[in-house]
Subunit: 163 residues, 2 copies
């Protein structure tokens, strides 16, 4: 079985697939609320939802996966971006892949550190939300509206993700 | 000085001013990711940003306020809604007011419990982001775009908020 080693989640490595949402010294910020709050402004490059859709805010409660972790399936959303941000500091596993002729190519895996969230670009292949340690709650910012916003791909052979 | 007593944050009490974003048994949910994740779908009634704006995702790091807490000023955003969701479980204080002839009327205060976030409706008077215990990070979902999206009001007399 092919093994995919999870990489640390960084803006640079994740750039082809989406945004990393985090507070870091690399971000521009300004102070609001008379200096009591530092705002890290506009951390995503594309909150996309198309002409026939609108942005919605949802939450999700994810059950942890126990290793070994297998990747058998991916999906993508042709009409909208999709952000996942934990509402408690937690690690989580991200799987994504470049598109190759309408199918996911060789997958990549990233391990988000506590304090990091992500925003998948529109039409980007990704695996399911995968938390590792304990039940974790996430905020989801994605699209609702007309049109078919889901494509799925089943791999003929599973990949194993190594954390 | 007039004292405003903070109320527990509930959907019902906060309904005139915005949405409470939380996972609760009162929310409709469905399972995704082959049953490993429970999605609480579309928790806000209005992510509003107008024709000349778009939704952006930002973060903020808020310094805690030490009691006594005074309310001297409010603001509102005529063109867009604004959501604040802590990314660590924390209590925070919300101040808001009904509009009375273009000015805030008598303020109300709500205390959000750990696990709760809020979405202020478009054009709703509110005070600054107020955390109580420690430095806390928030996700902000609001509007960027053309037009004047800020109105401010200075009270002639400060209110004191009682937690």
């Amino acid at each position: 079985m092919q093994i995919i080693k999870a990489l640390p989640l960084t803006k640079e490595a994740f750039a082809p697939f989406g945004d990393v949402i985090e507070i870091s010294t690399a971000e521009k910020s300004h102070f609001i609320n008379r200096g009591t709050t530092e705002r890290f402004h506009n951390l995503t490059s594309a909150v996309a939802f198309g002409e026939d859709g609108h942005v919605i805010i949802s939450m999700a409660r994810a059950q942890p996966f126990a290793p070994p972790i297998f990747l058998t399936k991916m999906e993508r959303h042709p009409l909208g971006s999709q952000a996942f941000i934990p509402v408690s500091p937690t690690r989580f596993l991200i799987t994504t892949a470049p598109d190759e002729n309408g199918k996911p190519g060789t997958p990549l895996a990233f391990l988000a550190a506590p304090g990091q969230g992500i925003n998948y670009f529109r039409n980007t292949w990704h695996g399911v939300l995968t938390v590792l340690e304990s039940v974790s709650d996430f905020l989801i910012i994605d699209r609702e509206g007309e049109g078919k916003n889901l494509e799925e791909h089943q791999f003929t052979q599973a990949y194993q993700i190594e954390i």
